[in-house]
């Protein structure tokens, strides 16, 4: 009976393989860099990873719903350019900062809604659509902020780096992110999301508003891209119209490594959070182990393959022993 419960738990929580991988890579990283768990190092790492974590959280929702968002990185670039290029300066007041952040979120949701409209209602193919729209968003970024530069109030970065109660500020934000996910799962939309990604026809026949759910996943992805851009802007305190370009692929890799099924219908943001930590840790290892950086891509690819086959292997082994 306990075995059955464990098995069901493993089925529902597809991130168990990611958890295993996480322990392994952390152990390796720790052996190369004994200071890994010191507050200063921990805070630095998490701060660097957090923007991508937010972006990948949005990507997770889209992928569970059966889609993919290749414009995620371009949306980050666009919002970063908007923030630095037209909304904020180094002398902005807290009120202006808040307003700027709200406008940034609105812009993210708007471009997400464009993606969602094309995919859910015009029935365009998600890969092609979001790849195409990514050029529009990248173009907007370059239009708003033609070259890198600009600044934001320094207080923001100070808060972002702080460690209230000897815990990095970012950890509180990660906890909020996970709470958001657990709350989302507990709503009807959570059920609809998994049903839509799992078997759209059956979901439709059961009365799930499949198109609207798909649309919302892209809006949420846009919102998370905006939040990622805000975090990134604070973290680097400047603007760069191409800052998010490389983030799209990383966000997808993190989602897959975190145990979310690439075809949709299974997975979650908790796994994605682990996926980000795994990716970041591996990059740490590469830099500490004096592996040439050009092999980073190769390692990334191997990790994706391992992550894709890992859960399948577990299932295969389980079947063998039944």
């Amino acid at each position: 009976m306990n075995l059955l419960r464990l098995q069901r738990y493993a089925n529902r929580n597809s991130y168990l393989f990611a958890l295993l991988l996480l322990v392994v890579v952390l152990a390796i990283n720790y052996s190369l860099q004994p200071s890994l768990f010191e507050l200063r190092v921990l805070n630095g790492n998490l701060r660097n990873w957090f923007p991508l974590m937010l972006l990948a959280a949005g990507q997770t929702i889209v992928i569970i719903g059966g889609g993919i968002d290749l414009s995620a990185g371009a949306m980050v670039s666009m919002v970063n350019a908007l923030l630095v290029g037209s909304l904020l300066t180094a002398e902005s007041t807290p009120d202006e900062v808040l307003l700027g952040a709200l406008i940034a979120c609105g812009a993210g949701m708007l471009v997400g809604a464009i993606n969602g409209f094309c995919v859910a209602y015009l029935r365009l193919q998600p890969i092609v659509t979001t790849y195409a729209t990514s050029f529009i968003y990248a173009g907007v970024a370059l239009y708003v902020l033609p070259r890198p530069g600009g600044a934001i109030p320094a207080d923001l970065a100070r808060t972002y780096r702080s460690t209230p109660l000897d815990i990095p500020f970012v950890v509180y934000l990660i906890v909020l992110l996970i709470l958001f996910w657990l709350a989302l799962r507990a709503t009807r939309f959570g059920q609809y999301l998994f049903a839509t990604g799992g078997q759209p026809n059956a979901a439709y026949a059961s009365g799930v508003p499949v198109n609207f759910v798909r649309f919302l996943t892209y809006v949420l992805s846009g919102l998370f891209a905006a939040l990622a851009a805000i975090a990134l802007t604070i973290s680097v305190s400047t603007g760069n119209p191409r800052i998010g370009d490389k983030m799209t692929l990383d966000s997808i890799v993190a989602v897959v490594v975190g145990g979310t099924r690439p075809n949709g219908g299974q997975g979650g943001i908790i796994g994605t959070v682990m996926g980000i930590v795994i990716l970041g840790t591996i990059r740490n290892i590469i830099s500490f182990a004096n592996v040439p950086t050009w092999s980073q891509t190769l390692v990334d690819a191997l990790i994706i393959i391992a992550a894709l086959t890992g859960p399948g292997l577990i299932r295969l082994i389980r079947r063998r022993f039944q």
Partner: protein, 502 residues
């Protein structure tokens, strides 16, 4: 609350083909109406119209005496009409409870799903079938359930909507006898609670156990509405077939000394429960029965496309194909039922489609000219009407496209031809040409195993017909036994009507 549903003079046409010409059905609270008909009689079209899946062209639906139209399945559900279909509407990666309550989850504070309540209600529903299943519980993943338990979940899901009218479309097909007993007890209980039930089944025995009335469809027309207590199996079967329906049979005999091409003993797959058969060279053996009784699986297994156990000998040599390629090497050819997805590459040329299975012969060394000559010869033999050999298959009519499907295998000179309902959606003229082609092939000594969902076709073409029912051969008909009444009776799982079983 009492309810009555009445479908009146429903007409449904699919691009010119009349699926339903005059469909009528009446059901009211506390009644079980069985909907019967042979293949293609329109019973699934009628039940889809009632549940809003398909919109009718003419006629009207009356709910409690008032005309209604359903734009979608959801609209019908809101009006209290739900259906349990054979093609399951479950999400494999979600739990039993999540599936049953999908889109009508019990909520807390208006937003949060009340999982405890959901589980409690699910357990209450599962209690209805308690003792009749093994692994089923509220937290089990649907993907892990066997087919019968999935079916139970499907039934409970429909019931969880508190329907007023429930349509059970072959809902007993994958249930065992104990589960069927339980379902029938529930149906009696639901009747007492004023539920109206439409019961579509291919099992005569079940219809007589559970139904109060039977509505019989034939060729898209409701031809009878009788009280079960005042009828018998024979009368129902006679209603299902046309009174004058004894198509002229062309007596053909296969030389008794023709060599046995294919012999099958105890063939089993997931759907098949032990099939024995034998086909001689030049014989056209028909496979009949209602759709989905394992006919396609039989052909696929023989072609090596799905795993199977049992003994198969081809020309006296034991074989066990594990891949279609192995079957092709032994001169077996398979013509799939679904042209669009399995038979043709629509956007590629006729030539390419014809040569696709034969590249071994023309590929090494590349002999495009010879390939083109042979393909053209086959196309001419088949009377393929075509703009040119290089025109895409999508430019052809349905009948001509079907010729390409068969032609690509004829190029390999098959000794055994497996046909999986090849004339579905083919117009009458093209069918006649196709029949001539089959006759030519048998003259040439090809052994043919021919599954068709069209009973008339089987009667006209075949020497012998095996009728499949629930994955078993329920009858082998030949000679004077091979008539419409026997065919229909056997496909409903009952014995011979006119003759003693052989």
């Amino acid at each position: 609350m009492k309810v009555s549903l009445s479908a009146q003079h429903i007409v449904k046409r699919y691009s010119g083909v009349v699926a339903l010409a005059d469909g009528n059905l009446n059901v009211e609270s506390g009644q079980v109406v069985a909907l019967l008909g042979a293949n293609g009689s329109g019973k699934s079209t009628l039940s889809k119209i009632i549940t809003g899946v398909v919109a009718p062209n003419e006629g009207q639906l009356l709910l409690d005496g008032r005309p209604v139209t359903f734009a979608s399945p959801q609209a019908a559900k809101k009006a209290g009409i739900t259906a349990v279909y054979q093609e399951l509407s479950l999400i494999p990666d979600m739990t039993v409870a999540e599936n049953i309550w999908l889109a009508h989850e019990p909520l807390q504070f208006g937003v949060r799903i009340n999982r405890r309540e959901m589980r409690r209600r699910t357990d209450a529903l599962l209690d209805l079938f308690s003792g009749a299943f093994h692994t089923l519980d509220a937290d089990a993943l649907v993907a892990d359930l066997p087919p019968d338990e999935k079916q139970i979940v499907e039934i409970l899901k429909a019931f969880s909507l508190k329907p007023r009218v429930m349509i059970l479309d072959e809902a007993t097909a994958s249930l065992d006898s104990r589960q069927v007993d339980r379902l029938f007890n529930l149906i009696q209980q639901w009747k007492a609670e004023n539920l109206a039930i439409v019961f579509v089944s291919h099992r005569m025995e079940e219809i007589f156990r559970v139904a109060d009335r039977a509505t019989v469809l034939r060729n898209g027309i409701t031809v009878g509405d009788v009280a079960i207590s005042e009828t018998n199996e024979r009368e129902l079967v006679n209603l299902m077939i046309e009174a004058s329906a004894t198509p002229r049979r062309h007596e053909r005999t296969v030389a008794a000394d023709a060599p046995v091409r294919l012999s099958v003993r105890g063939l089993r797959t997931q759907a098949l429960k032990g099939i024995d058969l034998e086909v001689r060279d030049g014989e056209l053996l028909g496979i009949g029965g209602l759709q989905g009784q394992g006919q396609s699986e039989l052909l696929l297994a023989l072609f090596g496309a799905i795993p199977w156990t049992g003994e198969v000998t081809l020309s006296g040599e034991p074989v066990h194909f594990r891949h279609p390629r192995a079957a092709m090497e032994k001169d077996v050819a398979f013509v799939p039922g679904d042209r669009a997805s399995e038979g043709l590459l629509y956007i590629r040329s006729i030539l390419e489609n014809l040569l696709l299975p034969s590249w071994q012969r023309y590929g090494i060394p590349l002999q495009l000219d010879r390939g083109r000559q042979d393909a053209t010869r086959i196309a001419d033999d088949l009377g393929l009407v075509r703009p040119s050999m290089d025109a895409p298959v999508s430019a052809l009519s349905g009948g001509n496209a079907q010729k390409v499907v068969i032609g690509k295998w004829l190029l390999r000179n098959p000794k055994l031809l497996l046909l999986n309902d090849p004339t579905k959606g083919v117009d009458v003229g093209a069918k006649a040409e196709f029949y001539n082609l089959l006759n030519d092939l048998r003259q040439a000594g090809t052994a043919i195993l021919f599954y068709s969902s069209d009973d008339v076709e089987l009667l006209e073409l075949c020497d012998r017909v095996l009728v499949l029912h629930d994955g078993k051969v329920s009858a082998e008909l030949s000679g004077s036994d091979l008539n419409r009444a026997n065919l229909v009776a056997a496909s409903m799982g009952s014995g011979h009507m006119n003759h003693e079983p052989a």
